[in-house]
């Protein structure tokens, strides 16, 4: 503080006042200025009575206000005041001087926060004197009787007369050492923490001969965390150490060393665990957030801290001080010419996603909960994938293994990509059946073919045939290609149904029923039945809601002629691009294209992939077709478009495609189900697939969809037997130590043992209530005192016989109430149903004299599943 380096002190009781001290003391009042956000500081008073100031401390009590203790270079401590002083108490104190026996620099001052008449001063060392002197400011004796007459004489007469000089401190501590920093401990006002020359020492005023100390270099700027009274910060050069007074042997934490020496360290009084530090010659203040620091347990726990820095002003910072009550606010004074900045440290924002798609963020003392807007069907398409997945999981998406096509409806039925997946299970079914048909012809790996897509099917050659337009007078033939594989592909695309029938009429009717007139017309046209196409369009125009356009299209269509050069052809090829419906568009593209050059159809991306593939299967030759399919496959993979599954099948190619789908959407749910549905084992073993499945399971757990998770696991176990977990719990007899589940059956099956003991209700099966090995009884339920293996006694209210009728054997097996469960801590237990009802009303174990809080030990025990079914 000497010379130019200023320091700031906030008034402990006036939130708008502070003092800046450099060569003199200046009292300022801070208040809002005319500008909306700005504040201005007004200079209220200046005090330059005390030269050679080394340190200043503000009297902590309300009255007298503005009383300051100033420590000087010669070790004298002077009480002074700023501004008007009315109170007599203040007048009495101001001007008092406390003189150490041997003059040397006063390094630090600290008022006792409770006994406010105690003022501790830390001085440089003297060979024969103490360096920590605690003065009693209320002391009236100028010179106590202990001082020798000699000393009295030497003191200047004026000083002695005024009665304002105190030479006898109340306590003298820290002999033959220098004291560089001081602070009173908040946990006990009789304890003083001092940064001595080589150690940190805690002096107890009740027993001054004793001290606790720890050797360290970090002895500067000791300060206690106002929110956590055992936490202390101190520094040395650029190194900051955090101490826990309960474990004082070494620092709890040593923070990264700064290249420049630290000059000030201060705990934020309004925010727990926030420490601000300032180094020399810098324009930033470094903040350490120890908010989430756990209480240190054990030797090696280093709490985590978050470090950041703020730049309150452009110039170099001389000093700073936290506002005593205003949140995170500080005043910063520049190193030169007293430029002051009122600055509020912006609170770190922490953010957390809940598993149910709401978002929570905390800033300062505010907590914001952002839930997704659930209103309006319009918005539902834009919902986060997690919300969608949760809804779908809730409605049983993917679980309907009997009627696979319903999954699409369960998913909400609004995603065109998922809709395309409807065909996937159909495809697999087809493939399985077709593979059987083809088995004799293709001597290949049947298993892999079942799951492969069109890409792998259409590799065989086809015979070319020319077909003429049906129902028209044109003579031009259009080249079409046939083979069994292409036929299979067409079936997979849904154009023709299974069997020998290769007529598309069925498909057309179904399309007409769904009102997909344009598509139906296009399919009819591609089957070279232009009359049917026109008829479909006419029907569509008459039934659909005012789609008169279709009539116009039908009209245009009927104008087709097979002449290569004519006005119709010319106009159609240019005007077709203006048609809104892509199916209408490709119809004209087809009609105006040369045979074999159908790019206008094949690369119309808004046309469903399966229609394009089916088209390609009909009209592309053996060279063109694989090339087109490959190209399309890569396009689908790149875009992560699920329609592409038709091409790739559930092969490794399919995993690639699914991967880019998951990358794009995050929908691990669909990915998990698809891959489980039909994939061969080697594809399931793909780490990506395993990752999706595990993540989906975790997601279900996070949503507390435990039943769904279990269902999924069962489902998965059926489709992928290798995923079944091994038995994790075995029950052994207390007496003979043998497993009781194994002895029952000759060949133990997974999970079988428990049902046997858990239920026992099955009338046909004999109850097992004793160990099959040693015949000693099994443990008893702590509540009903029945041995393990006995079913739960029925409630008297419900008729026994009636219940028996209701329950199928399967239901009984699954009846959780009959299960035996026990606490891993106290080892008491009983029927799950009994235990659950007991802990509904009690916290302690049902066994008398056992005080185990079993249910509370189970962190998830008190959570209820969100999908209770």
């Amino acid at each position: 503080m000497s010379g130019s380096k200023p320091d700031i002190l906030w008034s402990p009781h006036h939130p708008d006042r502070y003092v800046i001290c450099d060569s003199e003391l200046g009292l300022y009042r801070i208040g809002p200025s005319s500008g909306a956000e700005e504040t201005t500081a007004t200079l209220l008073a200046i005090n330059s009575d005390t030269p050679y100031m080394k340190c200043v401390a503000w009297y902590p009590k309300h009255e007298p206000e503005c009383l300051l203790a100033v420590g000087q270079a010669n070790g004298r401590v002077v009480l002074t005041s700023l501004g008007q002083t009315h109170s007599s108490a203040c007048k009495e104190l101001v001007g008092k001087e406390f003189v150490p026996k041997h003059a040397r620099q006063c390094n630090t001052l600290a008022w006792n926060p409770v006994d406010s008449n105690l003022l501790a001063a830390g001085l440089d060392k003297h060979r024969a004197d103490f360096s920590v002197l605690i003065w009693d400011v209320s002391s009236r004796m100028a010179l106590d009787s202990g001082a020798s007459a000699n000393e009295k004489l030497r003191l200047s007469l004026a000083e002695a007369d005024s009665g304002s000089v105190v030479t006898k401190p109340l306590y003298e501590l820290g002999q033959n050492d220098a004291c560089l920093s001081l602070c009173w401990l908040l946990r006990d006002s009789k304890l003083l923490l001092a940064g001595m020359h080589r150690n940190l020492a805690i002096f107890d005023l009740r027993n001054t001969s004793q001290k606790t100390f720890v050797n360290t270099k970090a002895i500067q700027g000791v300060s206690v965390d106002p929110h956590f009274h055992d936490r202390v910060a101190s520094y040395y050069e650029g190194q900051l150490a955090i101490w826990d007074l309960r474990k004082f042997e070494k620092p709890v934490l040593t923070l990264t060393e700064q290249p420049k020496p630290l000059t000030k360290v201060a705990w934020c009084p309004t925010r727990t665990g926030l420490l601000a530090t300032l180094t020399r010659d810098t324009n930033i203040i470094r903040l350490y957030d120890m908010q989430h620091t756990p209480t240190p347990i054990g030797d090696e726990t280093e709490p985590t801290i978050i470090e950041r820095s703020v730049q309150p002003c452009d110039g170099q910072i001389g000093s700073f001080a936290w506002h005593p009550s205003s949140q995170n606010r500080m005043v910063v004074v520049s190193a030169t010419n007293r430029v002051m900045t009122d600055f509020t440290v912006f609170e770190r924002i922490s953010l957390a996603w809940s598993s149910t798609s709401s978002l929570m963020w905390a800033c300062g003392r505010h907590l914001y909960d952002c839930a997704e807007d659930s209103g309006g069907g319009e918005g539902s398409a834009e919902r986060d994938i997690a919300t969608k997945m949760r809804q779908r999981a809730g409605s049983g998406y993917g679980h309907d293994t009997v009627q696979l096509w319903r999954n699409h409806l369960l998913a909400g039925g609004d995603d065109p990509q998922l809709k395309s997946l409807v065909f996937l299970p159909m495809m697999v079914t087809h493939m399985k059946l077709c593979a059987e048909d083809l088995e004799l012809k293709i001597q290949g790996n049947k298993q892999s073919l079942v799951y492969s897509g069109i890409k792998n099917i259409v590799k065989t050659s086809a015979t070319e045939s020319r077909r003429s337009w049906s129902g028209s007078e044109w003579q031009t033939d259009v080249p079409r290609f046939h083979s069994d594989e292409r036929c299979l592909a067409l079936r997979l695309c849904g154009w023709i149904s299974r069997g020998s029938d290769i007529d598309v009429e069925t498909f057309l009717r179904s399309l007409e029923q769904e009102g997909e007139w344009e598509r139906a017309a296009a399919v009819a046209l591609f089957n070279l039945d232009i009359r049917r196409a026109i008829q479909i369009l006419n029907t569509g125009a008459s039934t659909a809601k005012g789609e008169l356009n279709l009539n116009v299209v039908a009209m245009a269509l009927s104008g087709y002629s097979d002449e290569k050069v004519c006005l119709w052809r010319e106009m159609c090829s240019s005007l077709r691009l203006q048609l809104n419906n892509s199916y209408l568009c490709i119809m004209f593209a087809f009609l105006t294209s040369e045979p074999g050059a159908y790019d206008g159809v094949l690369f119309e991306s808004s046309v469903a992939v399966r229609d394009r593939v089916a088209f390609a299967c009909m009209f592309l030759n053996d060279v063109q077709l694989p090339r087109y399919i490959d190209k399309l496959t890569n396009e689908m993979k790149g875009a992560g478009n699920l329609e592409g599954v038709l091409l790739t099948g559930l092969t490794n190619d399919g995993v690639d495609l699914m991967e880019s789908y998951v990358d794009r959407t995050g929908d691990v749910q669909t990915a998990s189900f698809c891959m489980l549905k039909g994939s061969p084992v080697d594809v399931l073993k793909d780490p990506r697939v395993q990752c999706w499945i595990e993540n989906y399971r975790n997601l279900l757990d996070a949503w507390r969809f435990w039943h769904k998770r279990a269902e999924f696991d069962i489902h998965r176990g059926k489709l992928d037997p290798s995923s079944k977990p091994l038995a994790q719990v075995f029950v052994s007899c207390n007496f003979c130590g043998k497993s009781i589940s194994y002895s029952g059956a000759a060949v133990p099956h997974q999970g079988r043992g428990f049902s046997q003991y858990g239920v026992g209700g099955s009338p046909t099966k004999s109850k097992v209530t004793s160990c099959p090995g040693c015949r000693k009884p099994l443990p008893r339920c702590a509540l009903c005192l029945m041995n393990m293996g006995t079913p739960v006694s029925h409630c008297p209210g419900t008729g026994r016989s009636e219940e028996k009728v209701d329950l199928t054997r399967e239901n009984k097996l699954a009846q959780f109430n009959n299960w035996f469960t026990w606490c891993h801590n106290c080892r008491h237990g009983g029927h799950a149903g009994h235990m659950l009802s007991w802990f509904r009303d009690h916290t302690e174990c049902p066994v008398s004299a056992c005080t185990c809080r079993c249910m509370q030990l189970d962190t998830t025990g008190n959570l209820l599943p969100a999908d209770s079914s």
């Binding site: 000497s2 010379g3 050679y52 270079a73 010669n74 070790g75 003189v99 150490p100 026996k101 041997h102 003059a103 040397r104 620099q105 440089d124 060392k125 003297h126 060979r127 024969a128 020798s148 000699n150 000393e151 030497r154 003191l155 030479t167 501590l173 820290g174 002999q175 033959n176 050492d177 220098a178 080589r198 020492a201 001969s209 004793q210 001290k211 050797n215 270099k217 040395y236």
Partner: protein, 335 residues
Amino acid sequence: MDLHILDHRLRVTSIAKKGLVDFTHPLIKLIFLRNRTRCKFFSLTETPENYTVVLDEEGFKELQPSEHLQVESSIWLPLNVVSNGNTSCSSQAVGVTKIAKSVIAPLAEQHVSVFMLSTYQTDFILVKEKDLSVVISTLEEEFNIFKEEGGESVPVHSQEVSNGLQKNGKEDIHPTVHPVLIPLNHFCVMSLDPDTLPAIATTLIDVLFYSSSHKDEGQSSSSESLDCIKFFSFSLIDGYISLVMDTEAQRRFPADLLFTSSSGELWRMVRIGGQPLGFDECGIVAQISQPLADSDISAYYISTFSFDHVLVPEEDIVSVTEMLRHQRKEAAAEF
């Protein structure tokens, strides 16, 4: 009690008065330009014979070899006793007196030569580096010994178990009783805020380097010859300044800048030695400090290149004089 072996390696040198002109530059640099040198331990004492300069190796580099510069060949290590606050010292006696019994006497018995340097802040006991193991084994019973290395205090224990022999291998001889000189000037021991050092720079330079010219002018020559001797000491050690000067010199400094005790105590000097004492003789400090400790008289002890100097409170000088005379008589009687 803790004994700290400080992290300084010191040289003891002497500059002849007439050779001072060659050394003014390094000396001014070492005194006033703290941030321009890495010297952490510097002490300059002017006696009528010469200037004694004790400084660490960093500072020693600044001194150019010269015919006027005498250098003691050993490396000296400073020891410092820290009371650690656990022992409440009832005795008012300070400085050398306090450590006389615990450090100086045992070291004298082991024939370890010591070089004392008292300052306002503390007392340094300088021992030769080669004697360190003897010092440690001698003092480790009484003290927790720490060696300071790069700011950290490391506990030290003696390397080998001593076999009980005199480690310095000398005969146990009776110490010589040296003649003493008691000048009439009153001395004060003071300190100074290093930040205000520039404020007294000119006075300090004047007192340190031009004192002889004052004398030559003969203003105070009447009392100078025997009754008063010129003695001025300045030390800057680990950032702490200590000054020892007589009241005449003190008057030339601004009163409000120098720190001293509030009682303004004054000290009288006892100079030990008629011939230059050398650096090998041991027991000189013990000889004086022992009786002072017995009578509970506080003292400063400043060794220089040629002689040793003890400062005692002025009110005690009569009894000290008496005591020393008695000691001489005893010594004479023994022979």
